[in-house]
Symmetry: C2
Subunit: 351 residues, 2 copies
Amino acid sequence: MAGGSGTRFWPASRRHLPKQLLALATETPLLRMTFERLGNLAPVNRVWVVTTVETAQASRNILPELPPGNILSEPMGRNTAACAGLAAQAIQKVDPEGVCIVLPADHVIGEEKQFRSAMAAGAEFVSREGGLLTFGVRPTRPETGYGYLELGLEHSRKGEWSIHRLRQFVEKPDVEHARTYLDSGGYLWNAGIFAWRATTLLDEIRRQIPDLASGLDRIGEALGTAESDAVLSEVYPSLPAISLDFGIMEGAEQLWTLPVNFPWSDVGSWTALAEGLSGDATANASRGRVQAIDAGNNVLVSTGPVLSVVGIDNLVVVATPDAVLVVPKDQAQRVREVVEGLHDRGWDDVL
Amino acid sequence: MAGGSGTRFWPASRRHLPKQLLALATETPLLRMTFERLGNLAPVNRVWVVTTVETAQASRNILPELPPGNILSEPMGRNTAACAGLAAQAIQKVDPEGVCIVLPADHVIGEEKQFRSAMAAGAEFVSREGGLLTFGVRPTRPETGYGYLELGLEHSRKGEWSIHRLRQFVEKPDVEHARTYLDSGGYLWNAGIFAWRATTLLDEIRRQIPDLASGLDRIGEALGTAESDAVLSEVYPSLPAISLDFGIMEGAEQLWTLPVNFPWSDVGSWTALAEGLSGDATANASRGRVQAIDAGNNVLVSTGPVLSVVGIDNLVVVATPDAVLVVPKDQAQRVREVVEGLHDRGWDDVL
C-alpha cells in the first residue's frame, strides 16, 4: 500500500512526493525499504504495489526490478479497503488460492528476520484456516498515537508464534488507558499489517460492502487486458472510500491476530521519525547541512538550505529551498493544520 | 558610514549584502532611508558615503543621484576613526571650513523634522565653537544593548536644543545600572551620530593617532586625482583600525553632547528590528509569505520560502532559499556565533 498523500511530512513531503517515496530514516526511500524487507518471502513477480497515478512513475523508478504490471495505480485515493481489494483482484487472477500479505509502504521495522518469520507464519495460517489476520505489535510504552487490538483466546501455536482470536479494535487511547493496556499484556498496537487469502477478503467485501465488491469485480475482469486503464479510471473513483479496519475487519466472520515483537514504527510524524523504533529521542536528530548551538532534543532536517539553530529545545525545524516549518515536537501532528492553512491562502505551489 | 559587514542580520544579510543595503524595516533600503532623511540639510553634492569596495556599486544603485565621486570605497574596513577621517579629508578638500555630520547608514529614526533640527543645531554649534559633538538619545527604557553618554554641565541653549559638556562614555550596562541611568536623567544613549568641523577631527586624529593622520593626509592629497584609487588601495589597508569613540572621542580636548529625543534605533538585531522605535513587540513581526498558527511575539522573516510556524513564541525565524536561522529573541545577538560556526565548517557559500 503506497498511496499515502504525505501531509504529515510537509515540507519535505509534497502532494507529488509523499512520505513513502522519501528517504526519511536512512538514505533509502521507505517504499524501497519495505520491498527489500520482504527478502525471500515472495519472488519479485509476486509483489504488487498499489500507488496513485501521481506517484506511479516515481514508484517504478524506486523499484525497477518489479514487473510494470505489478504497479497498480489508483486514479484517486479510495481508502484502504478499495486498495487491498484491488490488490486481491490482481493476486486472485494470478493464483486463485493466492495468499496476500498487506503492508503499508511507509513504516519502519527492525529485526527483519523476525519480521519475515512472522509474516510466513501468518500467511501459512490463513492459507489453511481462512479468515482475516492482523499482525499486532506488542507495546513497549504507553503510546497514545496508535490504535490497539484486544487479544482474544489463543487458537494455536506454530514455533514461536501464537495465533489468537481478535476480540476488538480499540481507538487511540488516552495515556491512562494506554498504560493499562501496556500493563495488562492483553493488547497490541494495530500496525495495519494483514494476511488473508485474496478470495477471503473479496468474499468479506462482497458480504459487507456489495457496491465495493461489484466495482472491484469489474476492475478485476479488465486487469491485464487492453481495457485495464480505462476501466480503472472509470470505476475506481466511484468505489466507496472505507478503511479496512472499520469497513471490513470489525464485521468479519473470522478474525485473527498474530502478536509480533519486532521493532516497529508507523513514522507518523517528524517526532516519531526522531524517536525511531525506540520511541525516545534525547539528542538532536539532524539531516542535511545543520548547525545546532546550545540546542537539544530537536528534529532538524534540511533538504538543501543550511539550517542554523541556537538555544532551542524540543522543536521540529524542517527547511527546504521553498518552504520552512517550525513546530514544537509535541505538536508535530499539527502539520495538517499548516497544510490546510497554506491551501486556504492559495499557496498551493509549496504543497 | 555605510561599511558595515552585516553579520547580525544573517541569513538575510550576507558578506556582500550588508544590513544597510537591505530593506529591513520598510520597502526602502536603510542606506536610502538615511539619505532621504537628510532632506534639505545639505545639497546632494555635499553628501558623502563611505562604503566598501564590495558594496560600492550596490550603494551607487541605491543612491543614483549622488555624484560618483561622493561614494568613497574602503579597500577594507579599518573601523570608524579611519572612515570618518577619510570623509573629513574629502570634505575639507571641497570646503576648508566644512562641517561634517557623521551618520551610520543603518539606523532607523523617527520624527525626521526633529532630527533635521537637531542636526542643524549641532552643526551650527561646532562650526562656531569647535570641538567634537556627539548626539545622545534620551533613553526611554533601561536598555542594556546600548552604550551611554554621561551628561556634563550645560554649556548653552539654542531654541529647544541644549549643548552639554560630555563627562564620559559609559559601556553597555547591566539592567540595574541601566535603570539608574534612566531614572537619573543624566545619561543618554550613544547613538554614534557626530558633528565637527572636518579640520577639527583631522587635528584631533593628528594629536592622538599620528600614524592614522599621516596616512589620511596621503589619501587626502590624492583624492579627486587620477592617483586616488591607487593611493587608497595602497595606504588605507595599513591604517590603524580604531573606533571613533575610544580612539578619538574619549581623549579629545573639547567634547560636547546634544541631547535629542527623536525615536531612534540602531537596529542591532532581529529582535531590535521587531521592537522598532518603541522597544516593544507583543505581536508577531512578519515579512514575506509567513503563516503563524497559535504563535505570538515572534520575528518571522522570509525572503522567499513559505515560512509556517505553529505553537511557538519569542523566536526569531529567518528563511532564505539557501539558509535558515532559528533563535530565541533574547539570544538574537548570538547570530555572530552562528556565522563563525558556519565559517568554521567551511559553509562560506551561505555567508
